[in-house]
Amino acid sequence: MARAVTTQRKVIATAAAWTIGIAIFFPILWTVLTSFKTEAQAIADPPVWFGFDWTLENYEVVQERSNYFRFLMNSVIIAVGSTVLGLLIAIPSAWSMAFVPGKRTKDVLMWMLSTKMLPAVGVLFPIVLIARFLDLYDTHILLIVVLMLMNLPIIIWMLYTYFKEIPVDILEAARMDGASLRSEIIYVLTPMALPGIASTMLLNIILAWNEAFWTLNLTTTKAAPLTAFIASYSSPEGLFYAKLSAASTMAIAPILIMGWFSQKQLVRGLTFGAVK
């Protein structure tokens, strides 16, 4: 009897998981399908599902009209750059908060989180003015720093929770064996927290890849990433949904593929602690 309930539960859980999964994936699927239609088919009502003449025309037009690889390279540089820089700062700070908490550590953590509560546009002008003053407008370095700052609270919080689960005894043992602070972080803590660091890194790359406020407002031509590439195909007067879909598909494909391959890491890092 007990077993029957479990099976039933399993079926419900599986069905629910699939429903949610398909609901979340559907817009992406629809975008990909639309990218192979003509503009007229893209807006057809009732919608056409699979029975249309698949065409690569949209991809050809997009390829011809804009330099996809320049945007792609900018996206890679900005996403990876801001993530690496963020980790360099976040690992030591998360270490100190997890293992040598002071009286104000909890406040600092909350304060950091509170910076995420300010709408980005609220600091648009100060940042633009600083960028102009430092002559950094439309450069990779500006985007790397700004996106790093935007995501830093999330990185620190994630790492903090992973580090918290590592028994302090292990670090103390290393210290007793004469490990310096540097080697303690590099050789003891980091390897143990690797799944956590890896998933933080992946999540942060995804966040930076998809960031569409700062990347649009702080770039013009030289540092413009894929978000600008997509934005250039959206039209207020004219139906270009198929071309927009082709551009979107090209923009999300790299990150989708990366997510696919690192799925295991990502899920493990997000759901399990460091040493469980």
């Binding site: 007229a40 003015l129 407008y137 439309d138 407002n217 207020p236 007067e237 004219g238 139906l239």
Partner: protein, 434 residues
């Protein structure tokens, strides 16, 4: 002495080099509309003629507006030319954020620009942006459905004609709706339409002392008529429909009439995309016999921000892109139906262009809109479907949300109008107009 002489000679040589126009790279911000895409495809012609290269930054309209506003107000200097509209030009021109275009060459023939366009893009008689293409709004209707209903659309219909036609053409069982109008909230979406419509009902945004007028019987009549039309003869879910949504509906044969931008005419008559391409007729936007029609006036125009280091090259580009020669270049490459409309008088005198089915109605629509005198009663602002003050975009979008909610059936016309009145009152007081 000799060293001074040498220095002088050197300086002369340098200035001589400076005098020869060095090849520059111009960065141009624009939107992804058909005419702009065509321009991007033809830039090689400009580079060939002048040696200047062009880099395009194409952005979605609202992103572009935010991006360009940030850049110009911080003197960011990222763009040499910006594509802006009739709303921004007078505001920014007055702020001295734009380079005045008062020394364009004789060949350019400034006087050839349509007076309504030049007027809307000038401040105190000085042109601040050159119109690349202009549009008004008009009625597009299905000639086959009108015929089947035994009716005829006058060239200059009244709102009662529109209502009668909408009623006759509506066939909800076959998913044909008599009229499609904008319902999506936004100052450039439903409020552009409603403001233009309200002009023909004798309404206005402000009286001469900047008091909002949403409590007037004229605005009440406008909104009542609009809601009545849309609720009885409009498509379902119209509160989410903007230009593109209505364009899709019309092209699929689901609208009997559509009152919107004149540029839509080239889309709905294009057999590649439109299923009703050979049965579309055009008429002026409706009126109520009060002397003003319900059509708007808009231009996408090219302007040079005051911070640009490449003003001369930028002016050369603007002269190229908005010239008579450019229009001929497009006609040669893409046909007369695809040239940028609504900017030059000479285009409408061209016998080739007169053959284009929507040419005359577009010109008549543009000519019947007057941005400096848009309403029946006098107003303190410039603009037909907007008031050219910096605060407008913000509060018009908010009021647009109220009218969109009324169309969705979430509140009554009275509630929407009362809220609109409060919103605008508050904003105008905060901004110091009263």
């Amino acid at each position: 002495m000799t060293s001074t002489l040498r220095a002088l000679l050197g300086a002369t040589a340098l200035s001589a080099i400076g005098g020869i126009a060095a090849a520059e790279t111009l960065t141009i911000a624009t939107v992804n509309n058909g005419d702009m895409i065509r321009m991007q495809g033809l830039t090689d012609d400009f580079t060939e003629k002048t040696g200047h290269e062009v880099e395009w930054v194409t952005l979605e309209e609202n992103v572009l507006r935010q991006r360009v506003t940030t850049d110009i107000s911080t003197n960011g200097g990222q763009f040499d030319i910006m594509t802006i509209g009739m709303y921004e030009t007078p505001i920014w021109g007055k702020q001295e954020w734009l380079v005045p275009l008062d020394d364009l060459s004789e060949d350019y023939d400034v006087d050839d620009l349509l007076p309504a366009m030049a007027g809307g893009l000038s401040v105190d008689g000085t042109l601040y942006a050159a119109p690349f293409y202009g549009e008004s709004s008009m009625v597009m209707y299905r000639t086959d459905l009108m015929e089947a209903a035994g009716m005829e659309m006058p060239d200059a219909p009244t709102w009662d004609d529109i209502k009668a036609a909408a009623e006759a053409m509506t066939d909800k069982d076959n998913e044909i709706y008599g009229i499609c109008l904008r319902g999506k909230a936004g100052w450039g979406e439903n409020m552009a339409f409603l403001t233009a419509m309200s002009n023909s009902f004798g309404a206005r945004w402000f009286d001469e002392d900047w008091n909002p007028q949403f409590d007037s019987p004229e605005w009440k009549a406008t909104i009542d008529f609009y809601l009545d039309l849309m609720n009885n003869y409009g498509p379902p879910g119209a509160a989410n429909n903007g230009f593109n949504e209505n364009l899709a509906l019309f092209q699929q044969g689901k609208c009997g009439m559509w009152i919107d931008a004149t540029v839509a005419a080239s889309f709905v008559t294009n057999p590649d995309d439109s299923t009703v391409a050979d049965s579309v007729g055009f008429a002026l936007a409706p009126d109520n016999g009060l002397g003003k029609r319900g059509n708007w006036l808009w231009a996408w125009a090219l302007a040079i921000p005051a911070g640009s280091q490449k003003v001369d090259a930028a002016k050369q580009f603007i002269e190229w892109a908005t010239s008579k020669e450019y229009i001929e270049l497009v006609a040669e490459n893409e046909g007369w139906a695809n040239v940028p409309p609504g900017a030059r008088t000479s285009l409408y005198e061209n016998p080739e262009y007169q053959k284009v089915p929507f040419a005359k109605m577009t010109l008549d629509s543009i000519n019947s809109a007057d941005p400096t005198n848009p309403t029946v009663e006098p107003v303190p602002y410039i603009g037909v479907q907007f008031a050219a003050i910096p605060e407008f975009a913000g509060f018009a979008t908010q009021t647009g949300q109220e009218f969109s909610a009324a169309l969705a059936g979430q509140q009554s016309a009275e509630e929407a109008l009362a809220k609109a009145q409060d919103i605008v009152n508050e904003e105008m007081e905060a901004a110091g107009y009263k």
